[in-house]
């Protein structure tokens, strides 16, 4: 899923300081799963904004709505009536959401209420970790199913580097697993260590963000 975390309320208050009425729009997709932008978080943020503005003697009207998804134009539609007399939308979807909202309402300011952090998964309750950088050409099959592009701080194709110690990466003060150590152990378990004996050559980054913003087209679905 796309993992995101809430921006500090102060930062959001600053963005909407000139507004009298805002819509806080959540999303029932990934950000609901990672507890940062679902129905519940919409309610919490709305209350925080109201309370802060009331305390400042400058009341704010907040309309709450949680879209089925904010990454599909049809699910943005229900906001049409809500944004009509609003001064701004605060979207707490991943950063796709505010951009869809901005596209649909050319004259309504939209602000992100989240920082989109990564594509990842839950490690334990309340902990999420990054697993994918969407390079567009998955190579994890070569590395025991683990991704060196995302999980190695230097994106090494021929790790582990000299900074691997006790299974941990030198970056992150011992909090990050050295994925190359994990790859080594896993290939050893699978009896495929010899895979690591030949140099892994250049990665083609043109399928990644480096080739420019990407579009995926599936003709069979377009008809």
């Amino acid at each position: 899923m796309v993992v995101a975390e809430s921006k500090p309320v102060q930062e959001i208050l600053e963005m909407i300081k000139d507004c009298k009425k805002v819509v806080v729009a959540g999303c029932k997709g990934c950000v609901t799963v990672c507890n940062s932008g679902g129905e519940k978080e919409v309610g919490v943020l709305a209350s925080e904004l109201r309370i802060a503005r009331k305390a400042a003697g400058n009341d704010l009207e907040v309309v709450e709505y949680t879209c089925e998804r904010q990454c599909d134009p049809e699910y943005i539609e229900p906001l049409d009536d809500l944004v009509k007399d609003a001064d701004a939308v605060v979207s707490i979807a991943c950063s796709v959401g505010p951009q869809y909202v901005a596209f649909r309402y050319p004259y309504v300011p939209v602000y992100p209420g989240l920082n989109t952090t990564f594509i990842g998964g839950a490690a334990e309750h309340g902990v999420w970790k990054e697993y994918c950088q969407a390079c567009g050409n998955c190579i994890i099959g070569e590395f025991g199913g683990l991704c060196p592009i995302t999980r190695c701080a230097k994106q090494l194709l021929n790790g582990p580097c000299g900074g691997s110690s006790g299974g941990k990466c030198e970056v992150g003060k011992g909090t990050i697993d050295c994925v190359w150590h994990l790859i080594y152990e896993r290939l050893k378990n699978l009896g495929k260590l010899q895979r690591l004996e030949d140099p892994e050559l250049y990665k083609d980054w043109s399928t990644s963000r480096d080739g420019g913003p990407r579009t995926m087209i599936r003709e069979e679905l377009r008809k």
């Binding site: 701080a153 230097k154 994106q155 090494l156 194709l157 021929n158 790790g159 582990p160 580097c161 000299g162 900074g163 691997s164 110690s165 006790g166 299974g167 030198e170 970056v171 050295c178 150590h181 080594y184 152990e185 690591l196 004996e197 030949d198 140099p199 892994e200 050559l201 250049y202 990665k203 980054w205």
Partner: protein, 310 residues
């Protein structure tokens, strides 16, 4: 191993001598006089001098320019190049530029992560890693082609080196990783600084068994300990660096003003021990911000005076 670049360093190895390389880091500013001053202590002591490339991800004046400064002083440089700060376009361009300036030794590194340096907010590149860069430079030199396959107008004659850290984990993989670098193009290896002699000799044993010392010149990295403080720092904060208690005890055992002397003595002993190991082709002496003591260190070893080669 046939002659590829004809650098002094390569010739020393080819002639069967134990080689010695030193290191000189460019300053964090444009103070070229300071750099010349530090380098002046190394002249006549190293067969070549490594010029670091923004080491520890701290901005310094660039390796390419510093190499040129050394050449003007009559010192042969080993240009270090990291993949952290440049993509394949920049890297290949710099390899060609270095060759055009007459630089003949190139050490290919990935580089320290920028979070350790003075610009942790920087965007890193890592388009290639060190192994990729080794392959790239070898293909440019031997096949006259860029990564893209484009033909070069003039091949860069480079004697190609790589680093190896025998002390990182997993230990069993360290030699295999070095072998990969040799396959990719490394003709000489400079190791991370060695303090744990037992672990290093095990590393070398495996390297000998795998026939790597026949394919590549392995230089043992030595960094003299200036004080007990430095030894403790290295032990605690440099990942994968094992400083045995024996050395710390020895440094502690002498008065503070004699610790530097003791550190030099330890370095000389280590150099001797490494030179006696099977398969060691030379020493890479990294006297960090201690260039002025290099002559004294080396004069107490069989590595001085240096042989002349043609």
């Amino acid at each position: 191993m046939t002659m590829t670049a004809g650098s002094n360093l390569e010739k020393i190895f080819k002639a069967g001598h134990k080689a010695i390389t030193c290191e000189c880091g460019p300053p964090r500013g444009a103070d070229v006089e300071h750099f010349r001053h530090k380098a002046s202590f190394l002249k006549g002591y190293g067969d070549a001098v490594n010029v670091t490339d923004n080491q520890t991800a701290v901005v310094r004046f660039c390796s390419l320019a510093a190499c040129r400064v050394l050449m003007d002083m009559g010192i042969e440089p080993v240009m270090q190049m990291v993949t952290r700060d440049m993509n394949r376009i920049g890297l290949q361009s710099n390899v060609l530029g270095a060759a055009a300036l007459g630089i003949k030794n190139l050490l290919c590194l990935t580089g320290d992560h920028q979070s350790f340096g003075d610009h942790p907010q920087a965007k890193n590149v890592f388009d290639l890693d060190s192994t990729n860069l080794l392959d790239c430079v070898r293909v440019m030199r031997d096949e006259g082609k860029m990564i893209s396959g484009t033909e070069l107008e003039g091949k860069p004659a480079m004697f190609i080196g790589a680093a190896a850290n025998p002390f990182a984990d997993p230990f069993e993989f360290r030699v295999i990783r070095m072998a990969k670098k040799i396959t990719a193009g490394a003709q000489f290896i400079q190791t991370q600084c060695i303090y744990d002699m037992d672990r290093f000799s095990k590393f070398m044993e495996t390297a000998n068994d795998m026939g790597l010392t026949e394919k590549c010149y392995i230089m043992a990295g030595i960094t003299p300990l200036k004080s007990v403080g430095m030894a403790n720092y290295m032990k605690k904060f440099v990942p994968g660096l094992l400083v045995p208690d024996e050395y710390i005890t020895r440094l502690k055992g002498v008065p503070k003003d004699k610790q530097a002397q003791e550190g030099i003595k330890i370095a000389q002993e280590q150099i001797q021990q490494c030179l006696e190991m099977k398969g060691i082709a030379g020493i890479h002496l990294m006297a960090i911000e201690w260039e002025e003591r290099v002559p004294e260190i080396l004069e107490g070893t069989p590595l001085h005076p240096r042989p002349k080669v043609d």
